[in-house]
Structure formats: C-alpha cells, structure tokens
C-alpha cells in the first residue's frame, strides 16, 4: 500500500470532481468541503465518468443516466435494486496536497 501525491487541493473545486489517471487506474477525486473522497471513475452501469457528475451530499450522480454512487463506500444507491459497487480509495490531504492510497501490487502492475 502506498500513498501517492496527486495534486494541490485547490485544483479540485468545492463540490466538484476531477479525473486522475495513474498508470492503468482511473479514479475520480471529489472535494466535499470538509473532506476529499475518491472512487473509481467508471460508473458500473455504462462506464460514465463519475468525476463529471453532480455531487449530492456524500454521493455523486453519474452524468450519463443518473446512477447514484456513494463516494465513501462506492456502493450504488440508485437504482436501489442494483447490487453494484465501484472501488473506493482512501484519500488524505497533507500540507495542501491531496494523496490517494493505491495498493502496492496495483501501483507496480501499472
């Protein structure tokens, strides 16, 4: 497991998301004011870019068809009958820099 320094916190505007490509991984980092959260950028429905969605509380609505994904757990909340889930990544901000934790194998595999 390793923490990767991504970008200055101010590069991710309040209540918006940004797409980050890191090796073969693509994830979306969101700035929720009190905290930053990151999930895999591809909606489990048809692969829509979650980083471009509108934030609703702790969730994001996919810009393509409005699937709602919880940003802290990665669980799909709407449609309710869906059991799908996206990968969520631990995020922290140190000295104004956003860091995301990526498993070692993945970082190496990339």
């Amino acid at each position: 497991m390793s923490w990767i320094r991504i970008t200055e916190a101010e590069n991710i505007p309040l209540r918006e998301g940004r797409t980050i490509r890191f090796g073969s991984e693509e994830f979306a980092i969101f700035n929720l004011g009190q905290k930053f959260l990151a999930v895999s950028n591809r909606c489990p429905h048809q692969g829509g870019p979650l980083a471009d969605g509108i934030v609703a509380g702790d969730s994001v609505a996919c810009p393509l068809h409005g699937w709602k994904v919880c940003l802290s757990s990665g669980v799909v909340k709407r449609p309710a009958e869906q059991q799908a889930c996206v990968r969520s990544y631990p995020v922290k901000v140190v000295d104004g820099i956003v860091l995301v934790q990526i498993t070692a194998e993945r970082a190496e595999a990339a």
Binding site: R5, I20, R21
Partner: protein, 802 residues
Amino acid sequence: MEKLVVVGNGMAGMACLEQILRHQPDFRVTVFGDETHVNYNRIQLSSVLAGEREPDDIVLNSLEWYREHDIDLRLGVRITGIDAANRTVAGDDGSVTRYDKLLLATGSSPLIPPMAGSDKDGVFCFRNLNDTRALLERVRPGLKTVVIGGGLLGLEAARGLQLQGADVTVVHLMGTLMERQLDVAGGQYLQRKIEAMGVKILLSHNTTAILGDGHVEGIAFVNGYRMEADMVVIAVGIRPNVELGRAAGLTVRRGIVVNDYMETSDPAIFAVGECVEHEGIVYGLVAPLYEQGKVLAATISGNRGPRYEGSVPEAKLKIMGVDVFSAGFVQENASGVESVRYEDPSLGIYKKLTLKDGRLAGVILIGDLSDSRRYMDWLRTGVDLTDKRRRLLSPEALPDHGANVAELADSETICGCNGVTKGAIVSAIHERSIRTLAQLKQCTRASTGCGSCTDLCVGLLKAVVPEFEEEKKKVLCECVPFTQESLREIVRSQKLKSVQEVLDVYGNGKGCEICKPALSYMVDMTWCGEHEEDRSARFINDRVHANIQRDGTFSVVPRIRGGVTSPAELRRIADVAEKYSVRMVKITGSQRIDLLGVAKEDLPKIWADLGMPSGQAYTKGVRMVKTCVGTEFCRYGTQDAISAGVELERRLENLYSPHKTKMGVVGCPRNCAEATVKDIGLVGQEGSWQVVVGGAAGKKVRKADLLITAETTEQALEAAQIFFQYYREQANYLERTYDFVERVGIEKVRRETVYAARAVQEALLARLAKSKALTPDAWLERNQPHNPTQFVQIQPMEAVQV
C-alpha cells in the same frame, strides 16, 4: 324541533357543530359569524401570508356544506347581546333570534398591550383573513416592518412578511422566543434558525409607543431606544371574547367557565373553544378545541356522558425550514422534574424531555420532529418510561414510511386535531371508496387541522389504496421542498444569489442533481450577472460548454446563425476536424455542424481555432433559429426569413432558458423550416408575420399557437423577445414552451405579453436586455477559465513507479 343558535363561525364552533350533526339531533341550526367568510382554517393564515396558499385553499366548510345540512348561515352579523331569561340573541343588524340551546364559540381577539399610537395607520393585527389581506396589500419589498411579539403567531407573521420581501424585525418583550413553549436553550436554537433566514430579532425590548404623524414612522422602547418602521404588526397574544357570556350572566373568569361536560352556569348555554376556561386553563391551540367539541356535542344532543379532562398543550411552528415542536410542560424548575437533553449545534438539532415520576411531562423538539408522535403518545397515555430510560432520545429507526404506517395500531390517533384513528381512516377508505387525500379530508376530517399528519394520511392511503393519486403541490425536490413558483419568489424577494444559499436556508444544505441545476437557472435568471455562479451546481455540459457523449467525450457545435455559413468558416471547421482527429462531422437537424468525439482538454483549443461562438447545443438555453431562404432567393418568398432569423438568433443567443429553446423563421406559409413546430416561430406572409409559440416536434408533436400577427419585422422580433422573457421568468425548470403554453393557456400568455400594458412589455424587454448584456459567449472561457482545472487533465505529482 329545538332551535340551536351558534355564535361564532370559526374552527371551534364549526368543528363542534360537525360533531353535533353526527349525533343526528332534532335541531334547527342558525350560525352567526361576524366575519364575512365561510369557516376557514385560521392556523393556516400564515401560509396565506407567506404566499404558499390562496385564501380559497384554507376553506374548511364551503357554502354547500351549510346548505347541505340546512344550516341558516348569517355572515357579517355580530351578536351584541344575549337575553338569557327570554332565550334570545340580538344582532348588530337589528335581528332578534330565539334559541332553545345556545352555543358560544366566540373565540378570541388580538391582545393589544397598552402603548401609545397603536391606532396609527400602518399598525396591523394578524388574526383573521381580513388582517391577512390587509397585510398583503400593504407589504412590499424592502418595507421596514416590526412585528411585536416573538411567540408562534408573531414568528409566523414575521416569516410570511419577509417572504413577501419586507425587511422584518421581531421585537419581543421576553428574553427567549416562544418562551411559553421553549426553554432558554431551545429559544436560542430557534433564534439562530430564524436569524439565518434574514429575520432580525430584538429580545427583552418593551415597546412603549408607536411613533409617527398619523402614519407609523417608528417605535419607542422603555429603555429610550427608538427604531424606524413603516409597518407594525402586533402579535403578542390573544384575549378570550367573554363579553357576551358576561352579559348573559354566566360565570366568567379569564374565559367563560365550563365543567367537564362543557356546560356553563346556564343550562341552556354551552361554550367551546378559545373563549372557555376549563379547570382554570384557557386553551389557544387547535387540538383542545376539537376535543372539547366532541364532548360538547354529546352533552348538547342529549348524550351527556363523555367528560373533557383537559388537554396536553401542543404547539408546532409552521415555518417551512424551521421545525419546532413543543408539548406538555417543558419548564424544569418545578420540584421533582428532571430533564433529558440532546443537542447538535452544527445540525441545529435540540431535543429535551422533561420527566416527572418516571413519566413524560413535556417535550421540546427543534430541527428534527421525527419522534413527535411517539412523544405525544407517551404524554397522552402517561406510560411509565422506567425501562426505556436509556433510549429516550434514540429510538430504533424505522426502515421506511410504509412500515411506519403498518406498525401503528388501529386505535392509534393519526390526526390529533380531529381525533381520527388509523382504524377509522382505514375503514373509511374501504367503505367510502376513498382515492384521494381530498376525499379523505372530506369524509374523516383527518389532516384538516394543523396539517402535520398529512404525510401519515398519505402514507396510509398509499398502503391501503393501490390506485392512490397524489395531489400534493409539486415541490421541486425533497432537498428543497417548495414549488418552483415559490422558489422563484424566494430567490427574488430574499435576494438569494447562490444555489448554496438557497439550499442552506430553505433546504437540506446538500442538494442533488435534480434541484441544483434548477436552482442554478433560477438564481442566474433572476440575478443574471450579479449571481454567484457555482459550477458544481451545473450539469457537466454547462461546466465545460459542450455536450457529454456516451463514451465521456464531448460534441462541439459552433453557432451558425440562421444556418448561414461561409466558405471560410467551413474551411476552418474542416481544418479543426482534421487537426483534432474528430471522430465524426455531422450536419444536425438544426442546420448546424456537429464535431463529435472531442476530449475535454481539447475543447478550449478547438474553440480558439474555430473562432466561432458557442452554439449552446449542450444546454437548456437558446439553441438556434432555423430558416428558409425567404425573399433573398426563393421565388415564393414573401418575407426576408434569413435576415429576420439571423437577427432573432443574435438577440437571444447565449441566454439560458427553463428548457431548450428552438426557433424557426420562414418566409411564407409553405413553412419549409418548420417554424410551426418550434418553441418560437415567425411565419412570413404577404405584408405581415405570424408569431407562433409552443410548437413541438420531439417527444410530442404540437402545432404552435398564434401569439400575434405583426406588421413589421421589428414588431415580430419584439413579440418573440417579450414571449421569450416571459417564458424565462414564469416557466418551471425543464418545462418546454409547449408544456408551459398548455399549462398557462395561450389567452393568458397573450394577455400578459403582447396584449399587456406597454409598461409591462417594456419591463420584460428591459430585464431581457439586462441579462443579455451580462451574458457573454460561453466559449470565451477558453481565455479565462472559471477555475484552473476546468478543462485541464490533472497529472499526478508522482509518476508511476516501474
């Protein structure tokens, strides 16, 4: 047949009369009311003042009801005397009416504390529909308004007036708002919420005089401090109307004294409601009145037996966005009373229970009323809470509303105001084939009082009636539960200039993908240029000014006004398409060119290379004007469709609208550019233009309605502009012109646009011009991005370790 005379046509009198009629007694009934209205729901007056309801919406008993029950209704007649010996009442119209039984439901009047100048012009009370109408007539944006009284009524009046745009200060004699229902801490929570809405509060201020020469100019306090005011509303409390009772020789203390059977000291006279005193208590809230009415109905109709044993006082503040509930006895300074508390300042939640002898004595809930029914049950039944002590404030969460309803026992009261149980509602639904909430109200009276049980009633209907039709006013979204019409008014009158402000003050503070774009439109349309543009509240298309495609890439459609382009423009488009390896170049259905499959980070470069403005093909806004060639080339043309179309597009381009706005201009009625199925169309004919609106050729096909026939091109363009601004201001977000025109009706649209007074038209045109002047071509953001990473692909600071 006995003659029953009811004095007072208010909530208590009529609710009691409804109960009496249920006993089917042999009465001939006469009702006197000194107001000229039929019985209405007085506790909803604040929502009329706030503009959430119309006076007609709060009528409880229509004229038909009186007629159906053969009731002789005398409106606008004040009873001035009672002759108890001869059993007659005298009215101010000179009438003398005999009675066998007399029911006094005279209610109460506003209490006017002794202060100089309370008779000045501009001083109002807030007690009945006439007061409410007078206030609505007088109030206007910015009016300096002082509400004297920080109780339920004063706060509701203050909020209502503020929603009408007034600059409101509440002046309260005590150090705590609603001090009769709340404690000090609760009062502070409430105060913070009210102040956050923009109502100012002045506590511990004793008003001594209302100042001004004939008209109100200010008020003066005991401490010498003075304050400017254009309008003063006195809402410090109520005074029971007992004069008639006293004149009739009844025992009267603060109210007309009644026993447990609701009998007064005269066997032929009964009394109910705010004018009575039972066991030393005068009730000024709605639920006790209904409880009294039930007992009285039994007594007066010869079924004497049920006793009234007093009520648990219960109060709920009816201000949207401020949840306050209080019941029972909430002060903890009495001996043997202890309290249990929970508070969360940043969420604005405060809960306090007072306990005596292991039983609930009182409850205060602020910010979260979800448990109010449970606590009311504990209060009413006096259940021993010893084994619940650890979980008093943390109930098990109910999984959903349906389960909530299902878990209730049949004997449980749903509507506390009218005492209607779940069992009664369910059997009424079955026996009377009830399908709607209105029918349920009609049959059972449930939810016709304070309205706080409406959700439960709807829940029951949903559970029991499969074909239940919801008829609630359509709110924008759960995050901010107001109709779009109210929200537009709120944004305007409260000068709210950002989406987050609206969500913080009127909603859940979060918002979602439904309400945020709608609110973005509202603040932009209302405050265009002065609003705080919050891109996080916009759909991705409006963050990057391009249309997102299924693979996450974007499409680029430059503005080609009227569909008229040039070889040079076409060359640039072709060059761009090659340079950025655009996956597809397509002619759209709107006489434009679409470059499909563009990466977000390429957008600003493409726009710069094209050197053309945004065609807004991605947004709820002005799309384009489709034209035919008109007199310029066509041998049948009667009007210059191209010039008119290009000019129309130029005048409206860049603006947002409630939904997309597509237009067409054709030079003759052959209609080659399909103007009659466009949102706005100009159809040329010999010597004039027909301006048509509300056409559709999408999900729905609809021929546009004729707005007006204009003699000159300039008049036609102006009519289109006036309609467009009217649509911008009046339509709901995501409402196309064809739905809007159908909803409003083309006659009304004409009346309020092209047939409106010239001043109205000029005002619409001026607001349009102002918005237009402040709205630049969105693609210029390539030079001045809204934020540094608007189009930029962020590169991680650390590279991948290989």
